[in-house]
């Protein structure tokens, strides 16, 4: 391994990591929004919307992100829907992540027994109060572990962004291997940068999980 080569590659990887991180976070934010809406629609049993959410979740969970991206980036323009690579990456990640987030939220909401809501209402709380003070605190503690796992999963999934010509970490590594044959250095930096992004999130996840483990009641 050549330290000079590593030093000269650093800026390239830093730019790429920044792109991965930015698009990844943006996609995750949209995924959380989609997941929240889907989970709410299913929890409240809103007709029609509920079935649409169920179909979306099945489709999104049973297809790989790479195929979703190919369809959005190369297929949809033929219908006149043209997207930039960055928008396509974010859209794909949001489409994939929405269903995973929805399932995480739903598992939390469903873990709170109906008797808890009924008891809260019988104590004179309004619907909103029951949700705010009784259901949500318990639901959140159940949802946090799958929620954090989803964030790590989605950040890892961004590695396929290079397929739609985004210059992310994978793209940079492959490019440098192809151009200069500096396989060892390129792969070393690839691993280091992914660790740099993923390790803190993973540690935060286990920390939160430990703190919230006993917050549930009657689970």
């Amino acid at each position: 391994m050549d330290i000079e080569v590593i030093r000269s590659y650093m800026p390239l990887y830093r730019t790429a990591a920044w792109l991965t991180l930015r698009l990844g976070l943006l996609g995750i934010v949209f995924a959380i929004l989609i997941g929240f809406v889907c989970a709410a629609v299913r929890y409240r049993r809103i007709p029609v919307l509920r079935q649409i959410a169920a179909v979306y979740i099945e489709i999104s969970r049973n297809t790989p992100l790479l195929i979703q991206l190919f369809f959005i980036y190369y297929g949809l323009p033929k219908l006149g829907v043209r997207t930039s690579p960055a928008a396509c990456g974010v859209a794909g990640l949001a489409f994939l992540g929405g269903s995973y987030m929805a399932e995480a939220f739903r598992s939390g909401l469903e873990s709170v027994a109906p008797i808890q809501t009924e008891s809260a209402l019988s104590l004179g709380m309004t619907n909103g109060q029951a949700l705010r003070y009784v259901v949500l605190p318990q639901a959140v503690s159940v949802s946090v572990p799958p929620f954090m796992a989803n964030i790590i999963f989605l950040l890892k999934e961004t590695s396929v962004f290079s397929a739609v010509s985004l210059m992310d970490l994978m793209f940079t590594a492959k490019d440098l291997i192809g151009l200069y044959y500096s396989t060892t250095e390129s792969l070393f930096l690839l691993v280091v940068f992914y660790l740099f992004i993923l390790l803190p999130v993973s540690l935060l996840g286990s920390l939160l999980e430990r703190r919230l483990r006993y917050a549930g009641f009657g689970v």
């Binding site: 099945e58 489709i59 969970r61 049973n62 297809t63 790989p64 790479l66 195929i67 979703q68 190919f70 369809f71 190369y74 297929g75 949809l76 323009p77 033929k78 219908l79 790590i152 890892k156 999934e157 961004t158 590695s159 396929v160 290079s162 397929a163 994978m170 590594a173 492959k174 291997i177 396989t183 060892t184 792969l187 690839l190 691993v191 992914y194 660790l195 993923l198 390790l199 993973s202």
Partner: protein, 224 residues
């Protein structure tokens, strides 16, 4: 309605070629799953041991494999090990190695989770009834573990199938690559083929994974 490339699918042997490509991806995932499940069971059992060295090693393996995107692992094996050790690995073999390493880690974690989820009183009650250790494991622990494990391992198969789509990136000719070839070959006669062909690939993957997910969900509910 313009031609969106659906007709290309039925031209010549195109559809058979797509299915052949899908089979390449499925074959990789099925072989990897078949090797991962027994290895993962062994790993999972080892992870419940109290020996600190075994604990550190298995934990380290699990965390290391799981934190890296699978595509990075593919690159490490396909480009990295071939360069470092000078051996020759084709894309398909590299993917089987990577998915086996990854599947073993995932399966090991599932097995560990299922084993430690069995409450202590099950062991104690078995001992109180006069069962020896082997009997306890065979008649009490194993049946309960397997019931918890089967839906989760079936889910692992769908995850494996979805992840095999990545092998395109290390040059394995699978369904997505075949789709690209078909689109390229018909660029003049049907310029919009990308829509129809990629939609077909999308649906094929869905049809491969959906029934398996449904089965997992059904078993999970039934055995609860």
């Amino acid at each position: 309605m313009p031609d969106l490339g659906f007709s290309v699918l039925w031209k010549g042997k195109n559809f058979a070629r797509l299915m052949g490509g899908l089979w390449v991806a499925l074959r990789i995932s099925l072989i990897s799953v078949a090797i991962s499940i027994p290895l993962g069971i062994l790993l999972g059992i080892a992870m419940t041991w109290k020996n600190p060295v075994v604990k550190a090693l298995t934990r380290g393996y699990l965390e290391l494999i799981r934190i890296m995107p699978q595509l990075v692992l593919l690159f490490l094996v396909f480009f990295g090990t071939t360069r470092t050790f000078g051996w020759d690995l084709n894309g398909e073999l590299s993917s089987i190695i990577v998915f086996t390493l990854w599947g073993t880690a995932e399966m090991g974690d599932l097995v560990r989770g299922a084993l430690i989820s069995i409450p202590r009183h099950q062991y104690e009650s078995a001992a109180a009834l006069g069962l020896d250790e082997a009997q306890t494991f065979l008649y009490i622990i194993l049946p309960q573990t397997v019931r918890r494990l089967i839906p989760l391992s079936i889910n692992l198969i769908t995850r494996m199938i979805k992840t095999t789509s990545l092998v395109l990136m290390i040059g394995v000719v699978e369904v997505l690559k075949v789709a690209q070839q078909i689109i390229e070959a018909n660029r003049m006669s049907s310029p919009n083929a990308a829509f129809g062909v990629y939609l077909a690939v999308f649906i094929l993957y869905f049809l491969a994974c959906w029934p398996i997910s449904l089965l997992a969900k059904y078993l999970e509910k039934r055995w609860q």
